[in-house]
Symmetry: C2
């Protein structure tokens, strides 16, 4: 490639006429050709990715104000945990991009979970939830940590509802959120309310602006990074609006992740559940929106540095080694996926 | 690249000493370096792919001789279709690599199915069955075409069992296949027997020989093709033993397939079932074993030529255009995935 560039430069030197008119024409032609390249890149990006929607709709759980209000309060309420040390927001903290920036999270009684807490932002757009995809949507997901012994540690669903039903305001809010139901305060409705709230946690960033047609929203390096990202094969798993979250994929097609990361425990991924050889090291390919802020990376949170994470992906998934320049470009592009989360979203609600 | 090669040749010419000893050392060094490259390629391939197993085991459906025998007979029996025109083998013909080489297949009453009949060979290794993954294994799959109105068109499961129960030999064979059951002739056991038979339909080819450690099993072009296949990103979907069959993937990440193929009908893939935008054009990434023989390609069988199919994949999934040389190499490699199917497997059993 370098040779080609050199040869082209020589040709340019030899054949560029040195009067002003010709130079102008030459500059025009260059600008034209640059514009064509820019347009092609944008069109390609629009094909591969999608602007994030305003909400992640679910026909089985309509997003209503009453449900979202209740959902947010439940999301922040530590009374959903046995000892009262833990709310959804403890591990999926809305002030820090929906994560706690820890490799794995301590639960209600201080014990650590085994996998990294992924961000709640844009999670409702994913095809499945959890690192092994065992929950089909945010509603199903929301109910599971509450009764998980190392997470919120409530003994069972009934105890949760029993505890909440003693709080008058909750009775009222469940009734408002599920007005047609005789007995609105159920565990299923708790999941629906938290799910509806999570369906509003969709971000918007500079790359959305670019995808919407504003080619100037990304700078030169970010565009170079986008081009590298699309041409190297990253898009197989990281495409669509969320740029991931849809596929279960082997982490280590070309190289075992254990050779590249300081993993304390070797996690078999989906294999732990299915015992099928093909599911060894199969994990969900996560969304890349806000990836700059959702460190540490991978299922065990053993990698803090985004540049390192990109190189690990190149080696394990693509069987390639990115150059320093390529990594820097891709990381510059990935930083365009960082949203501004509004204060309104981050602010904790008043608990009843 | 060409420049690098040229420059290296010049260096070689300038610096190669012209006495015999030096030449010998030079040749030794070349052979050594070639061997290193060959070994690295083989090791990489062993990491990405797996030798096909002898059988596709399923803990819920042990493969026994009696089940396999019954399953093969059922597989060939046209009495599983309403008018008696159709057996499993009609569309998934064991003498032609488990397919009928038609774009889509005519059913019992002559009407055409909407999607291409994929091969039954190695299908039991896939994570899911059908083009949209709606059946979880070959047992579940086996029961579905029998009662599908455009396929084998039996009115319901009970009619199938009623018809079979009139055939004395079947009663005996079901009892032998499911010896511990009081009422062994059930639709579920029919599915299990056909499934068990299909679990034996695992092939073995030249590439397996290579993966087992015989680097000479592939010739130079086939190795070049393997290298291209692994370095271009094909392995994201086509890895493991079956080299596919595990993922549902958007057909058209970088380019709509409809722009590249003469598709009579635009098939939305998984979207047809889920109505989720992200599922538009999502289909199963098929296994590549025996791909040379299982034409025509893709969900609608609209592409007959393997070279064309490879280029379509490069454009739609990788956002790349392969050179003529790259395509020829990859196709040469893909042809190493063609097995010899033994006469024993192909031979139709005597029906009761």
């Amino acid at each position: 490639m370098k040779h080609t560039v050199l040869i082209l430069s020589i040709f340019t030197m030899l054949f560029t006429a040195c009067n002003d008119d010709a130079r102008k024409t030459d500059n025009d032609a260059k600008a034209d050709s640059l514009k064509k390249v820019e347009t092609a890149l944008l069109e390609q990006a629009q094909k591969v990715f999608k602007v994030l929607p305003k909400l992640a709709e679910n026909t089985d759980n309509a997003i209503t104000d009453a449900k979202v209000k209740l959902g947010k309060i439940l999301y922040f309420d530590t009374r959903l945990s046995k000892e009262g040390n833990q709310s959804c927001n403890t591990c999926h903290n809305l002030t820090t991009y929906g994560v706690d920036n820890l490799p794995t999270s301590p639960g209600d009684n201080g014990g650590l979970g085994t996998r990294n807490s992924p961000t709640v932002f844009n999670a409702a757009l994913h095809r499945t939830q959890f690192w092994d995809g065992r929950a089909k949507d945010v509603e199903e997901q929301a109910g599971m940590p509450v009764t998980n012994p190392v997470e919120m540690a409530m003994p069972d669903e009934t105890s949760v509802i029993k505890r909440l039903s003693k709080i008058e305001a909750y009775n009222k809010m469940f009734a408002q959120a599920f007005p047609s139901e005789k007995n609105p305060m159920t565990y299923n409705n708790l999941k629906k309310a938290i799910g509806a709230f999570e369906r509003t946690l969709i971000t918007t960033d500079k790359f959305d602006k670019y995808l919407a047609g504003d080619a100037s929203a990304l700078n030169e390096q970010e565009k170079k990074g986008l081009n590298t990202f699309m041409s190297k094969g990253c898009t197989t798993c990281h495409s669509g609006a969320a740029m991931g979250g849809d596929l279960l994929m082997k982490f280590g097609i070309h190289k075992n992740y254990t050779e590249l990361m300081d993993s304390v425990v070797v996690d078999d991924g989906l294999f732990a559940e299915t015992k099928l050889e093909k599911d060894k090291f199969v994990f969900k390919a996560q969304s890349l929106r806000n990836v700059e802020k959702t460190w540490p990376y991978f299922h065990d949170g053993s990698v803090k540095n985004l540049k390192e994470a990109v190189q690990i992906m190149a080696k394990t998934e693509l069987g390639q080694e990115f150059s320093e320049e390529e990594i820097n470009d891709v990381v510059a592009f990935l930083k365009t996926l960082t949203a501004n989360i509004s204060e309104d979203v981050k602010t904790a609600p008043e608990l009843p």
